[in-house]
């Protein structure tokens, strides 16, 4: 039970750290100043959520690893984030669409997790649910404006939808860890969120005049530590400081 809880927390933490890191790459490069603040705001929310999850995972593991050790001190195969989180940003449309998919999914998951039988998980969820709600709103509005915008923005949003499509079904990956979490009411089974998530994203995509994605084909492997080519490059940057100066403090 402790082992499954540890793994479930690590997976969520990895999703948030890796996606937060990707989003932070936009800092200083956004198409307008307002968005140059909005995107790092969201990235910092995600990394904050990752910190809470890593810290608690470290407590549960009770092997002396703190949040930094877990975030920066593991090898690639030990990261269990969804593949969609590690993909390169692409253009602004692809970044916003990925962020919207993720926020919509996490909002549903955190809402359920607020009534977790584990009080720490419930507390993390209660804080995160407010942040996810805003991420979903902000990114959803961009999806609509780009999808139903100019010819160029619409074609970019449609292209983003095609690129991300094969990575969506992994959200609903089920294995022993997931089942143990849902049987003990610690975290919801993601498969139980699938219908609500599809309804949510299809509603926004319809307004955006973007054809809904086909979830029948899926790249998988993130939850088992098998990553895309992009992951090694990402970790090289993410881990650089701790690898060069182990246990450094700011």
């Amino acid at each position: 039970m402790q082992k499954a809880t540890f793994l479930a927390l690590i997976r969520l933490a990895d999703d948030h750290l890796i996606l937060g890191h990707r989003l932070s790459e936009w800092c200083g490069h956004a198409p307008m100043l307002e968005e140059d603040l909005a995107m790092p705001n969201i990235a910092l929310d995600l990394i904050g959520q990752a910190r809470a999850l890593y810290s608690y995972a470290g407590e549960i593991e009770a092997a002396g690893r703190d949040e930094d050790a877990l975030a920066f001190g593991r090898i690639e195969r030990e990261y269990q984030n969804l593949l969609i989180c590690e993909l390169e940003n692409g253009d602004f449309a692809q970044t916003m669409l990925r962020q919207f998919y993720f926020a919509s999914f996490m909002l549903l998951l955190w809402e359920q997790a607020q009534s977790s039988s584990n009080t720490t998980v419930a507390a993390i969820a209660a804080k995160a649910v407010k942040e996810a709600k805003y991420h979903r709103r902000h990114c959803g509005e961009w999806v609509i404006r780009l999808g139903d915008g100019t010819d160029e923005s619409a074609s970019r949003m449609q292209a983003a939808c095609t690129v991300l499509e094969p990575y969506l079904a992994e959200f609903f990956h089920v294995d022993d860890v997931v089942l143990e979490m849902s049987e003990n009411s610690i975290l919801p089974d993601p498969l139980s969120l699938r219908a609500a998530w599809l309804a949510d994203i299809c509603e926004v995509l319809e307004v955006a005049k973007i054809a809904p994605p086909d979830l029948s084909h899926a790249h998988k492997g993130g939850r088992k530590g098998r990553h895309t080519e992009a992951m090694g490059h990402l970790l090289a940057k993410l881990q650089y400081m701790q690898r060069s100066f182990p246990n450094m403090k700011w």
Partner: protein, 96 residues
């Protein structure tokens, strides 16, 4: 990617606490009202500065002309009797 020439300017007003008035705090570019509200939240309330936001298209604000300063504001300079400084205000009245 975005042609900022076509994105309009908005004025942002933040109300820091209940009971206080909204105060002008700056401006930003946004394509429409919803995005302006979100941009205002992201640019001006990151450190907990606000409980409420107003955004107003800058073009909708009617402003006095700086060249009219003489006729608009100078006549008020010597009307000292308009200040309530000649009255005793009872303590019970409190802040006026």
């Amino acid at each position: 990617m975005i042609n900022t020439q076509e994105i309009q300017l908005w004025e942002v007003f933040i109300r820091p606490r209940n009971g206080l008035a909204h105060r002008h705090c700056g401006s930003l570019h946004a394509a429409d009202a919803e995005m302006a509200l979100q941009a205002a939240r992201d640019v001006y309330t990151r450190r907990g500065e606000g409980l409420s936001i107003w955004v107003i298209p800058s073009a909708q604000i009617v402003a006095s002309d700086p060249q009219d300063r003489d006729q608009m504001f100078d006549p008020a300079d010597d009307k000292i009797y308009r200040h309530p400084s000649f009255y005793e205000i009872p303590d019970d009245v409190g802040h006026m």
